[in-house]
């Protein structure tokens, strides 16, 4: 099926390049994962001292990391609770506005995606201090939501563009109340997108560092805790966290391929 627009030599060069690029992407992750199983107390693959699972046990007993994990989940759930309604509301307004008047609102709502993460963290930190709220989990939720809501809005917008509005209009003509139409037609149509948006929001929030580190104050999430440990020295326990991330991602990716591959066949 591939188009033979290049000479074989050019194809070979391109293939080798793509191969090297994939190596560049995956080799560091492989090294990091392998070191998690090394008995050597400093994360290494060159000084192999035998296979061990002791770092997994150490992680299970690491109270600060576990608390960080819990905090990460709390923040991510908070972000979902804030950004999904906000993104939905923004998308609903934008689809009903004319192109011209919508553009300004659109620019404002999308701007956080294009703003450096540290700036979102700083501005939220300053804003909430005015109300006597110091940096912490709440401010982290607010700071992250400012841009994650934009992502949610973009997903909802894409879905709403494919909406058949006649369905809602027909229901209204037949005398259904607005709230009923919204609940029975609009929301079910948007439900799959809401789910996708929630997953995206959770992942974005969970792995966010640059915004969170400014907004989190004295609290910590899994990611900020890992970062502050890395400043003082390396430990195989961090590699274990890495392995868990890699495995989860690979599982999700395979599930995606299986699901996506089926209807195509």
């Amino acid at each position: 099926m591939s188009t033979a627009t290049e000479s074989p030599a050019a194809r070979l060069v391109l293939n080798i390049y793509v191969g090297l690029f994939c190596l560049y992407l995956f080799l560091p992750l492989a090294v990091m994962s392998a070191a998690a199983f090394n008995a050597y107390p400093y994360p290494s693959v060159t000084q192999w001292q035998g296979f061990t699972l002791e770092w997994f046990v150490a992680l299970a007993h690491d109270q600060r990391l576990l608390k960080g994990l819990l905090n990460s989940v709390i923040v991510a759930l908070g972000v979902i609770a804030v950004s999904i309604p906000a993104g939905l509301a923004g998308a609903l307004i934008l689809t009903r506005l004319s192109e011209r008047s919508g553009t300004f609102l659109y620019s404002v709502l999308v701007s956080p995606v294009l703003t450096p993460g540290i700036i979102l963290g700083i501005s939220s930190l300053i804003f909430w201090r005015e109300f006597g709220v110091p940096g912490g989990l709440f401010v982290a939720v607010m700071a992250q939501s400012s841009f994650i809501a934009s992502y949610a809005m973009l997903l909802f917008l894409a879905r709403l563009q494919r909406q058949d509005r006649t369905l809602e209009e027909a229901a209204l003509d037949l005398g259904a109340r607005h709230t009923l139409v919204f609940r029975r037609i609009t929301l079910p149509f948007l439900a799959p997108t809401a789910f996708t948006a929630a997953v995206v929001a959770f992942l974005q929030s969970f792995e966010n560092y640059n915004t969170t580190v400014f907004a989190i104050g004295g609290e910590w999430t899994l990611v900020t805790e890992i970062a502050s440990r890395l400043r003082f020295g390396l430990s195989p326990v961090i590699n274990v966290v890495g392995v868990i991330f890699v495995v989860l991602t690979l599982l999700a990716a395979s599930a995606y391929v299986v699901l996506k591959g089926k209807p195509k066949r």
């Binding site: 188009t3 290494s44 000084q47 404002v108 294009l114 400014f214 400043r231």
Partner: protein
């Protein structure tokens, strides 16, 4: 607004508007405004006030001595009154010292030391370089994924790209830290091959070189360049390439006249994202250098907030960064002729 009310009813329309307004105000506009405001004032907590207070205390001590030795009641009363005067002066100065008056102006921006200004300029320059390198590295990849492979291979490649992209940014940086550290993989291999001796601390200090930050930064943000480019290239009709080739165009010419013009919006978005992420990156420099390589501007901002506790100065630094990023976005949009709606696709 009217069409919103017609579609969803007054109640829901009002709710939708309220949520959107709250989002715009509470999460976006007012916080940025607050940061801007914070950057425009400072408190004059000069050492001058402290000095004057110290001087006054000394004077009082001398006068008190006089007061004790004075015998003439008139003279004594005069001394008492000056004493009282000095004491009130101290009280006002001390009030100023603990709660200095707000001064508005641009001093937070102009006061940036030459070292910090140098770091600022260097960070912008490095971010531009990261963007350029990422583009050069990515272009063939985007081309291969979008145009040069069959559908099956495309799915595999896309997944191969998404997996590292989905893994936490910090862990990706950490992987490079492991590789380049003093006792890292590369030094380990060199020691194993007998070139260096780790026990004699003869390692090569990769981490003290700015290129270590570079390498990890490109690794971390390269995929933000790949995906937008793939997205636009996928919409290119391959027949256009065939036609150009049949008409005798060279490969170089096809890329320059057919493929790159088509990929323009994707290139703009990729460059904007990569520049924005690397200029504002805190994670990569803080982990890779661990205080040994040169600072990145974001580290200075962090220290202003969490170490010097000078939020006004920190805000001014953050605003400077925001201005540069906004300018970059506007320039790219102009140069590539793309609108904001193309960017967010």
């Amino acid at each position: 607004m009217a069409s919103l009310a017609r579609a969803y009813g007054k109640l829901l329309a009002a709710l939708i508007c309220a949520i959107t307004v709250a989002w715009v105000l509470v999460l976006i506009v007012v916080p940025i405004g607050a940061m801007l405001e914070q950057s425009l004032w400072w408190r004059e907590s000069g050492g001058d006030i402290t000095l004057s207070i110290d001087r006054l205390y000394n004077e009082i001590a001398v006068i008190e001595l006089d007061a004790n030795t004075a015998t003439d009641p008139a003279k004594r009363a005069a001394i008492e009154s000056t004493l009282e005067q000095k004491r009130t002066e101290i009280a006002t100065l001390e009030a100023q010292e603990t709660n200095p008056p707000k001064m508005y102006g641009l001093a937070n921006f102009t006061r940036m030391s030459s070292l910090h200004l140098y770091i600022f300029v260097r960070t912008i320059f490095y971010a531009l370089l990261v963007t350029l390198l990422a583009f050069i590295v990515c272009y063939p990849i985007a081309y291969a994924v979008a145009l040069a492979s069959g559908p099956r291979k495309t799915v595999i490649l896309t997944v191969a790209l998404i997996v590292p992209y989905a893994i936490n940014e910090l862990l990706r940086v950490y992987a490079w830290l492991m590789i380049l550290d003093y006792r890292g993989v590369i030094n380990g291999l060199l020691a194993w091959a007998g070139f260096i001796d780790l026990d004699a601390r003869e390692w090569i200090p990769f981490l003290e070189n700015p290129s270590a930050v570079f390498l990890a930064m490109i690794y971390t943000y390269v995929l933000f360049m790949v995906f937008p480019m793939v997205n636009t290239l996928e919409t290119l009709d391959r027949n256009q390439i065939e036609a150009a080739r049949d008409l005798g165009a060279s490969t170089w010419r096809i890329h320059r006249r057919v493929i790159i013009p088509h990929a323009k919006p994707g290139i703009a978005v990729g460059c904007i994202m990569t520049f924005m992420l690397s200029a504002g990156s805190y994670s990569v420099p803080v982990i890779m250098t661990r205080g040994q390589g040169g600072d990145w501007f974001s580290q200075l901002v962090y220290r202003q907030f969490y170490e010097s506790n000078n939020w006004n100065m920190g805000s001014a630094y953050a605003v400077s960064l925001l201005v540069v990023c906004t300018a970059f976005i506007l320039i790219m949009m102009r140069l590539f002729g793309v609108g904001l709606r193309d960017i967010a696709k």
